[in-house]
């Protein structure tokens, strides 16, 4: 290594160590967000951005807000995050699972910058992780789906086979069966989080095969459009309320609401109380919102779903409460047993009654 390269390497280390020094009073805090999609995707990224804007509004002029959208997961992400650090960010939220290793890598180089990684599992001294218990919302969707279906066939557009999605399918299925023992699930995996063309094709295929309720774990409104065209098919908003498709076909929704968390974490970074934490909140803390249940749902079913929502929020009911068997018929949870977070975090099997297999 020649002298110049040595200097370059040294400069980086020295520079990095100096970045993101503790925020002094009267200093603006610089908050960065890295998004995987465009900020107007109508789903995942839009809601992170929306929540971020709420956070900015909450603090008025006290925060300096920067973001970068459409950052591909992989080496480009590492550069985007580094760039933000070099630009003087004090706390950076990386809002997609695929940013996990890049976040950890950059965090090691910038020990004074604080990082918040969504949906991952790797923590370090300056990296927190946070996620939402979306499966709580799925329990409510499953209840409604089981109540409104007439064909007893429920379609499910699944995205990428990870525990979060599997939890959602299981939770919806358990609760649909609970209110309607005859329902069966038809699941299509599209291996993407947002692909309106594939989502539309999947929704149409499910409807053609007799499904009159279509649940989705993908972000676009394309399935709603397909359902609307078909007529008497029910859908649920995903990530966003998608209220423009209500009262039919959209009869309720799961809304991602990250704002309370973002406000709390930025506040912590401001007053110096920030520490690395692992957060997994649900309906109770407001991270998972349940969109207005529309009036096409029979009143008793609506009341039932709302009661379940309130019970989950109050901590009186857990969607994964035994008895629940695995797909092969073996016992997973005994009568009254509640699944622990560790088992849920790595959930990789279907419960009894679901047909097909999880892609692997």
């Amino acid at each position: 290594m020649n002298r110049r390269e040595l200097l370059a390497a040294g400069a980086f280390a020295a520079f990095a160590a100096g970045m993101g020094a503790p925020v002094r009073a009267n200093d603006k805090i610089k908050v960065g967000f890295i998004y995987v999609g465009p900020i107007n995707d109508g789903g995942w990224t839009q809601h992170h951005h929306h929540s971020a804007m709420e956070m900015v509004e909450h603090f008025g002029g006290a925060v300096d807000f920067v973001y970068q959208e459409n950052v591909p997961e992989g080496p480009d992400a590492e550069r985007a995050i580094t760039q933000m650090c070099l630009g003087g960010a004090n706390i950076i939220f990386t809002t997609s699972f695929g940013y996990m290793d890049p976040t950890i890598n950059v965090a090691a180089k910038f020990p004074n910058v604080k990082f918040e990684h969504a949906t991952g599992y790797k923590q370090s001294d300056n990296v927190s992780v946070y996620s939402a218990r979306f499966y709580e919302g799925r329990a409510i969707q499953g209840t409604l789906a089981g109540r409104v279906t007439k064909t007893n066939k429920i379609g499910y557009i699944a995205s990428v086979p990870i525990p979060e999605v599997v939890r959602g399918i299981n939770s919806a299925f358990i609760h649909a069966r609970k209110v309607n023992p005859n329902v069966e699930f038809k699941i299509i995996w599209i291996f993407e989080w947002l692909n309106p063309a594939k989502e539309a094709d999947a929704a149409k295929a499910l409807i053609d095969q007799g499904c009159d309720v279509v649940l989705q774990h993908t972000d676009s409104t394309a399935p709603h459009a397909a359902a609307k065209e078909a007529g008497n098919v029910y859908t649920f908003g995903q990530a966003a309320d998608m209220a423009e498709y209500g009262p039919m076909p959209r009869i309720s929704s799961i809304i991602d609401n990250w704002a309370p968390y973002y406000i709390a974490r930025v506040q912590a970074a401001m007053d110096g109380s920030w520490s690395s934490v692992n957060t997994w909140d649900g309906i109770g803390k407001g991270m998972v919102g349940i969109g207005e249940i529309s009036d096409v749902v029979p009143a008793d079913a609506k009341a039932e779903a709302e009661a379940m929502r309130d019970a989950i929020a109050a901590g009186e009911y857990h969607p994964f409460t035994g008895p629940i068997n695995k797909q092969d018929g073996s016992v997973w949870l005994a009568e009254g047993e509640i699944a622990d977070d560790g088992a849920l975090a790595g959930l990789n099997f279907y419960v009894e009654g679901i047909e097909g297999s999880i892609p692997s």
């Binding site: 040595l6 370059a8 591909p72 080496p75 086979p161 990870i162 975090a345 892609p359």
Partner: protein
């Protein structure tokens, strides 16, 4: 009226001048585009082309440019042989992905054995082999069934994309990954990591290999009989036939070279900057390399510079996105315009422009 008159020999002056002219033209057109978007065009051009090399944070960006350029140069060098001879491997992206999958599979098979002296070379061999095998499909179909190699190689890109997604959640999934997609991180496994050879320079094995490929190609094209055959076939396939060139062997050789280099580029990327087999691993380097090959006029030294320039538009472009909130799509348009400009001004190399009085017609 303007008339074009074919030159007997391509103009030497314009061969060197046109790429520069094309870059300037693109800067002007790009500047207009930025201005239309309401961004300061000079600032944008400076952020893209100047800051990564000589700006405040150049110490960070310069190595990034090298890392980004390495796969582009490797793939483009490989493609340049076929393109010279009129053999169109458009599916380098697929060969790049399969090379990465094969190379990574070797590393993951040995995990956690500590034997870098054996594992890393084996990975390189597997990467090359993967790329070559994937390239052999269109090559053999072309030779034996006269199937269009452009379309077959391209269809195989989609197949490769499906495969890497499937492997990232299936065969190669990290057993300790909490059920998430993605293999183990090869960069964190000492036997397989393609780390920087000199800290802070961005120079990893891929960069070294790219430089080696440039030099080797220069020698082959200038001195070796194969290089002569390639050039001859590109100029006239009939003449090449008379000179004793075996067209089928030439097709296969060109695909072996481009597939092998694309495969090894994929391996160095997955073991280095990317780190894991993941659905988001494909980054369209295989397609961008086509621009690089043309921008470099299918000449090894030209490709070296073109690769660095293209890497600069990526690194600088991303920086401009962040700093000036320029939409990421703009960079793609910018690259398209660069290729358009280059192809357009190329006319000056092969034709003489004549202004003649309009004939009555």
């Amino acid at each position: 009226m303007i008339q074009l008159e074919k030159r007997k020999e391509p103009s030497t002056f314009w061969i060197y001048a046109t790429p520069l002219l094309a870059v300037l033209l693109t800067m002007v057109l790009g500047g207009l585009l930025f201005a239309t978007l309401g961004k300061d065009p000079l600032m944008a051009i400076k952020t893209i082309f100047w800051d990564p090399i000589l700006g405040e944070f150049a110490f960070y960006y310069r190595p990034e440019v090298f890392k980004k350029a390495a796969p582009l140069i490797l793939i483009a060098i490989g493609l340049s042989y076929g393109f010279k001879a009129g053999i169109w491997n458009i599916g380098a992206e697929g060969q790049y992905i399969i090379g990465a999958i094969c190379g990574a599979s070797v590393a993951l098979a040995f995990y956690p054995l500590e034997a870098r002296w054996m594992i890393f070379p084996l990975m390189i061999l597997a990467g090359v082999a993967g790329g070559v095998i994937w390239a052999m499909i269109p090559a053999l179909l072309r030779v034996y069934f006269k199937t269009n190699e452009i379309l077959v190689s391209l269809m195989l890109v989609y197949v490769a994309e499906v495969l890497i997604k499937a492997f990232s959640i299936g065969l190669l999934r990290n057993p300790d990954g909490h059920g998430f997609p993605g293999s183990r991180n090869l960069n964190q496994y000492s036997s397989s990591a393609n780390l920087e050879l000199f800290a802070g320079t961005g120079v990893h094995w891929g960069v070294v290999t790219a430089l080696f490929a440039v030099v080797a190609t220069y020698v082959i094209l200038a001195k070796h009989q194969f290089g002569f055959f390639v050039r001859l076939t590109g100029e006239s396939s009939r003449a090449a036939g008379f000179a004793g060139v075996n067209a089928n062997r030439l097709i296969i050789t060109c695909f072996v070279i481009s597939g092998g280099l694309a495969g090894v580029a994929g391996l160095f990327e997955v073991a280095g900057p990317a780190g894991q087999i993941l659905g988001s691993f494909p980054a369209y380097y295989g397609f961008t390399a086509i621009i690089v090959a043309f921008l470099g006029r299918l000449h090894p030294v030209g490709i070296l510079f073109a690769g660095l320039l293209m890497a600069l538009t990526y690194v600088g472009g991303n920086a401009a996105e962040a700093a000036m909130n320029i939409p990421s799509a703009t960079i793609q348009i910018f690259q398209g315009m660069l290729l358009f400009s280059l192809l357009s001004v190329d006319v000056l190399t092969n034709y003489r422009v004549r202004f003649v009085a309009a004939r009555g017609a």
